[in-house]
Amino acid sequence: MAAIEVRGLERAFQGGVKAVRGVALEVAEGEIYAFLGPNGAGKTTTVRMLTTLLRPTGGSARVAGHDIVREAPAVRRAIGVALQEAALDPLMTGRELIHLQATLHRLPRAEARARADELLARVGLEYAADRRVGTYSGGMRRRLDLASALVHEPRVLFLDEPTTGLDPVSRKTIWDEVRALNRAGTTVFLTTQYLEEADQLADRVGIIAQGRIVAEGTPRELKAQVGKPHLEIAIADGEVERAREVVGRLGRALPPKDGLVLVELDGGAAQVAPVVRALDEAGIAVESLQLVEPTLDDVFVAKTGRHLEGDGAGEAAGGAGEERAEQPAEA
């Protein structure tokens, strides 16, 4: 049984604005599914519907086997939720907040206390457990929010932009915790506008734009849809043509760009060493090389014509492949 099954989910607001337009997806038990899209794409509206906070105006969905409209209380018992704005009461202490959450999930008092201690230690907040949340940093609040969502060991965990606005260290802490939870069997549905987050964490990614899913698959599958990785090799002047001939035996040689030899590699990073070896055996000195792989942004651009994040947001100037992730490799 799928942990989340969504069929033609729709949500229209007053004035006829449709934030979600027929979203359909399935998330298997134990999977991490990332919903990737820019602000206003419909990610949060979808999560609010799946967590019973908002009623759909069309379609249906089941979470942990329960219909989100007809069996909303059962859905709430099965899920953990950490929403976009970590809504924490600044007057409560971290321990009180988790205890409150545990009580709302009907944990007996002694168990609630033990669970609070365990979760605070797990997210590295035991030292601040009795401090008021108002004194916590943004990263600490997110970790506390995550801990409070785990208090009843939910089958399905919804994380709405769990690392937005966090520094890299706090972001990594959250990622590590999400991975650990997933290893323990929790299904995770997360929304994000960060490509790296989806790429690093998700088993499968759904790309949403203007309320519709425009692409879905594993990060590898999605990236494969827009191109293969290629190697950019800088070599000594006068050797470019000979180098192209050598690397052409191992992959498809692309037209040179800015004096660089380019070769498309089916096997990605695994093929870097054979290429270097072949050039070395041919007596061609390699000055530097970089493996360039398609990114989820390339996928997003290919599907929507727009970049997902950063200053490049807006119409894509050059289509797929304009902004690519570069992985320097030792020559």
Binding site: R76, E85, A87, D89, L100, H105
Partner: protein, 258 residues
């Protein structure tokens, strides 16, 4: 205790405790709810202290006559402030946390309004202390208990009113409406003079205003004798106000998902 409430009492208790932080952890947070009714009480006692010479007040001490309305003012303000707090929680996203939890909606509402009833005891305690210090008659244990029931009951109704408005408008900008509603309800009663001294529209409004029944229940101990005749309409009014306004608040909570 209602069996459903008994089962969910630990949930109600944590929500009450959390709401009580507003006054226990924010220095001076209780002052606005105390200050206004106390100033009204002292000011009006000083200005209209001789009014009882007109007769019909049931006492020669004007302060004993108006202590009841001051108690209900403090209660109404404190109760309505629960709506302001809820609007803030909705704006901040905290309320989503409660709605996404398995806690039944009536339990969430109960947590908020019970805390209001408890918080209303603070202005009541200050007013009674000041009142007794300036000569308010001792109402007797039964009269005092009825006054407290009235204070807590009206605070509960006011909290339901405030919550219903907060859930309708979902913004703290609705705060004046919450406070003004209670202000009008409490003042358009036999607040400062007995019914026979009221004229025109105020006489009519005070007669039909259900809070008049609550005020007269609260007031009776300070004026002398407590009777069932003066008590049951007040208790019935509180029960009816809480039932109707809680239904509105729960409807608002259900419509949050629309």
């Amino acid at each position: 205790m209602n069996p459903a409430l008994a089962i969910h009492w630990p949930m109600v208790a944590v929500l009450v405790r959390r709401a009580m932080n507003e006054i226990l952890r924010v220095p001076g947070a209780a002052i606005p709810g105390v200050l206004a009714p106390t100033i009204f009480f002292l000011g009006l006692t000083a200005v209209f202290g001789e009014l009882t010479e007109l007769g019909g007040f049931g006492t020669d001490d004007y302060q004993s006559f108006i202590i009841g309305v001051s108690l209900l003012q403090g209660s109404g303000f404190t109760g309505a402030a629960t709506g302001v707090n809820l609007a803030r929680d909705i704006e901040a996203g905290w309320f989503d946390r409660l709605l996404a939890s398995p806690a039944p909606r009536p339990v969430i509402l109960a947590g908020m309004v019970i805390s209001a009833a408890l918080r209303a005891l603070i202005p009541a305690a200050v007013l009674l202390t000041v009142g007794f210090a300036i000569g308010v008659s001792w109402p007797g244990p039964f009269g005092l208990a009825l006054a407290i029931v009235g204070v807590m009951g009206l605070a509960t109704a006011a909290a339901c009113w405030g919550c219903a408005l907060a859930l309708r408008f979902r913004t703290q900008s609705a705060a004046p409406l919450m406070q003004a509603g209670m202000f009008v309800l409490v003042l358009c009663t036999t607040s400062y003079a007995p019914r026979e001294h009221l004229q025109g529209w105020l006489h009519t409004v005070a007669t039909i205003n259900p809070v008049t029944q609550v005020l007269e229940m609260v007031r009776q101990g300070f004026l002398g004798t407590v009777t069932w005749h003066e008590t049951w309409p007040g208790l019935l009014t509180i029960a009816a106000l809480v039932a109707v306004l809680a239904a509105f608040a729960l409807r608002g909570m259900r419509r949050m998902a629309d």
